[in-house]
């Protein structure tokens, strides 16, 4: 009796997960994929016939420039986030348990404020009469305010600030579980601190690194409001282009096609990672 009830619950949960994935993940992506093959309609937005014309828009040089610049920004953001987050997280994970919880809390607290507002706050820091410039002028290091706001640097700072926690949290998940005795074993076998770090800690935390990079890279390509708030005229990201296609130009099929291209690009990167043999973790990827 009990066993069948248990079984029923398990089945129910499984079905729920499948249905949830179906509705929330599979169906929307399928709709976007479908839209990318449809034609533009001024009233209904989408109409038949099916065609491949929308993907031809990707070859547009203006669009390609934006995409390349955006990729560059996303790459820099991801790399910088990784370089900052890794040592930071590594040391947090070494702290005593009660401190770890506090630090994690401090990382999560800013999430309670809307990220739009947090990016607006950056304006008052980076602006001509903002904190950074007033400080530098007071110190006498510069006489004229530096042009920080409305530049690609400002977008980079905004992206890094917004996305850093997304790098820290997956890294924390793997580094917290790292068995200290593995480091001791490496030392015991003749490895210095550097060798132990690169041969043991980094490979074991690879799943966290990959997860963190994905969680930073993709948003860094698409967070158009950061570029809108902090960027200048040529600070558009891929996300801005997609947004424009949907809400300004009203060309849904092209917007969908760019989106699909982005997804395929991400899948390609993942595929390359697993092909490269760096996937040292025996378990399934954690995302």
């Amino acid at each position: 009796m009990l066993k069948s009830a248990d079984n029923f619950c398990r089945q129910a949960v499984l079905y729920f997960i499948f249905i949830w994935f179906g509705i929330m993940v599979f169906a929307p992506n399928l709709l976007v994929l479908l839209a990318s093959f449809l034609s533009r309609d001024p009233v209904w937005m989408l109409r038949l016939p099916l065609n491949l014309q929308n993907y031809r828009a990707l070859a547009d040089t203006k669009l390609l420039t934006v995409i390349l610049k955006s990729l560059n920004l996303a790459f820099c953001t991801t790399l910088f986030c990784l370089l900052v987050a890794y040592p930071f997280t590594y040391f947090i994970a070494r702290f005593a348990k009660e401190y770890r919880a506090l630090f994690l809390m401090l990382i999560i607290v800013p999430f309670w404020t809307n990220s739009l507002i947090r990016n607006y706050a950056l304006i008052s820091i980076l602006g001509d009469s903002g904190i950074v410039n007033s400080f530098l002028i007071k110190c006498g290091l510069i006489s004229q305010p530096l042009k920080l706001l409305y530049t690609n640097l400002a977008v980079f700072i905004g992206m890094t600030y917004t996305l850093l926690p997304f790098m820290i949290l997956p890294l924390y998940a793997v580094l917290e579980k790292l068995d200290r005795s593995l480091l001791e074993a490496a030392e015991d076998l003749g490895a210095g601190a550097t060798a132990a770090f690169f041969r043991v800690v980094v490979p074991i935390s690879a799943p966290g690194i990959v997860a963190g990079c994905i969680m930073v890279f993709l948003p860094a390509l698409t967070l158009f409001y950061v570029a809108d708030i902090l960027g200048g005229e040529d600070s558009a990201v891929v996300g801005s282009v997609i947004r424009d296609q949907f809400t300004v130009v009203h060309n849904w099929p092209v917007g969908a096609a760019i989106n699909i291209a982005l997804t395929l690009f991400m899948l390609l990167l993942l595929h390359l990672y697993y092909k490269s043999g760096n996937s040292v973790d025996q378990e399934q990827p954690i995302w």
């Binding site: 593995l182 074993a185 030392e187 015991d188 076998l189 003749g190």
Partner: protein, 370 residues
């Protein structure tokens, strides 16, 4: 003239504090080349800390670790000629068996071909060469244990440190691995310092055993010395089962003395370790297997000389032996292990049987009653 031989490893006046907590208290220990030394003690006695001090994971608060006459207390683990087999093995989960075992050699910068030869030689010694492509997660705990061994001894350490390496294995496998480890140690000729809380393991494998308690070495000696001649009550009780009787010295002779134990008069051989004086309280210790039990057919009859009268209150049949718990007239519980004797009809015991209990003369251990 022959040079005085320097011991392989010496620990001199080692004291270790963790905060205000004294974990090791003025430890002096010499490890000889090629021996199998076991640090035995209950959890929290400091045995693992002592091992970690030798490995270099901990620094002594005071005192010195000396190897081949040179102090190594300040050296980090990667610059000591010792290797460790960790309690949970600490195999690198992202490396194959081969890469795990090769790790130490790669750190030394050996050539590819040399590494390959050495790794397979080491794996063969622990019968794991078939598994060189497996990951640790694909191995049983017994197999992981062998890989951890190979990974450590491949580096030709002067001392191999083993931190309860068998504790994760089930009973049967533990028995097998005890023999294998001992054989491996003989084969390699490497000095082993072995940490365990399992006294059976310690007695079975070691050349010498150091019994630790609360940061102190209570006794150090061969397994036979530790078991047969415990120096104090802690060692007596921790290593094996023991019956401890309270006694009072009433008369001291030249080679023996007279005492009252459990209300019975006994003449016992004088101990060599301390002076018995009249009126002193003593402990008379006896292993269960040294007890002699005989069934009493007529409970009204007096107990013979040197025997205690008791009632079996509990018994455990163990196949080769039978363990009896006997409640004596004096109110003590005495444990006696009897070996089966085909010719002896008396061996069939039952609860509530009345028995006489004595022991094989001169097999008792006398300690002062602290």
């Amino acid at each position: 003239m022959e040079k005085p031989s320097v011991p392989l490893l010496e620990l001199r006046n080692i004291t270790k504090f963790f905060g205000a907590n004294k974990v090791l208290d003025d430890i002096d220990l010499v490890v000889n080349d090629g021996e199998f030394l076991t640090l035995l003690g209950p959890s929290g006695c400091g045995k693992t800390t002592l091992l970690r001090l030798i490995a270099g994971f901990e620094r002594p608060t005071t005192g010195k670790v000396i190897m081949n006459g040179k102090e190594i207390s300040h050296l980090p683990p990667n610059r000591r000629m010792v290797n460790t087999v960790f309690q949970q093995y600490a195999l690198f989960p992202h490396m194959t068996v081969f890469d795990n075992v090769a790790f130490g050699l790669r750190m030394k910068g050996l050539g590819k071909e040399e590494i390959e030869t050495e790794v397979f030689r080491a794996l063969e010694k622990v019968k794991m060469n078939m598994f060189y492509l497996r990951y640790p997660s694909e191995l049983s705990s017994g197999q992981q244990q062998r890989v951890a061994m190979a990974r450590a001894f491949i580096n030709n350490p002067k001392v191999l440190l083993l931190d309860e390496p068998l504790s994760a294995l089930d009973y049967r496998l533990r028995q097998e691995m005890q023999i294998e480890l001992k054989e491996l140690q003989r084969d390699l000729g490497v000095t082993f310092v072995y940490v365990t809380h399992d006294q059976e393991e310690a007695l079975a494998m070691s050349d010498r055993v150091a019994v630790l308690n609360e940061g102190l070495i209570e006794q150090i000696g061969t397994p036979i010395q530790i078991y047969e001649e415990p120096k104090n009550m802690f060692v007596a009780k921790f290593v094996g089962e023991i019956n401890a009787f309270d006694g009072m010295v009433i008369k001291v002779g030249e080679n023996d003395f007279e005492t009252i134990v459990e209300g019975m008069f006994y003449r016992l051989r004088k101990p060599t370790t301390f002076e018995v004086v009249r009126g002193a309280k003593i402990k008379v210790l006896l292993r269960p297997e040294d007890m002699v039990v005989s069934k009493v057919n007529d409970p009204e009859a007096e107990a013979p000389e040197n025997a205690l009268r008791g009632v079996i209150s509990f018994l455990v049949y163990k196949g080769r032996t039978i363990d009896l718990w006997i409640q004596t007239a004096g109110g003590n519980m005495v444990m006696a292990t009897q070996f089966f004797n085909e010719d002896d009809p008396d061996i069939i015991y039952a609860v509530n049987d009345v028995v006489n209990v004595s022991w094989i003369k001169d097999w008792e251990v006398i300690l002062p009653d602290a």
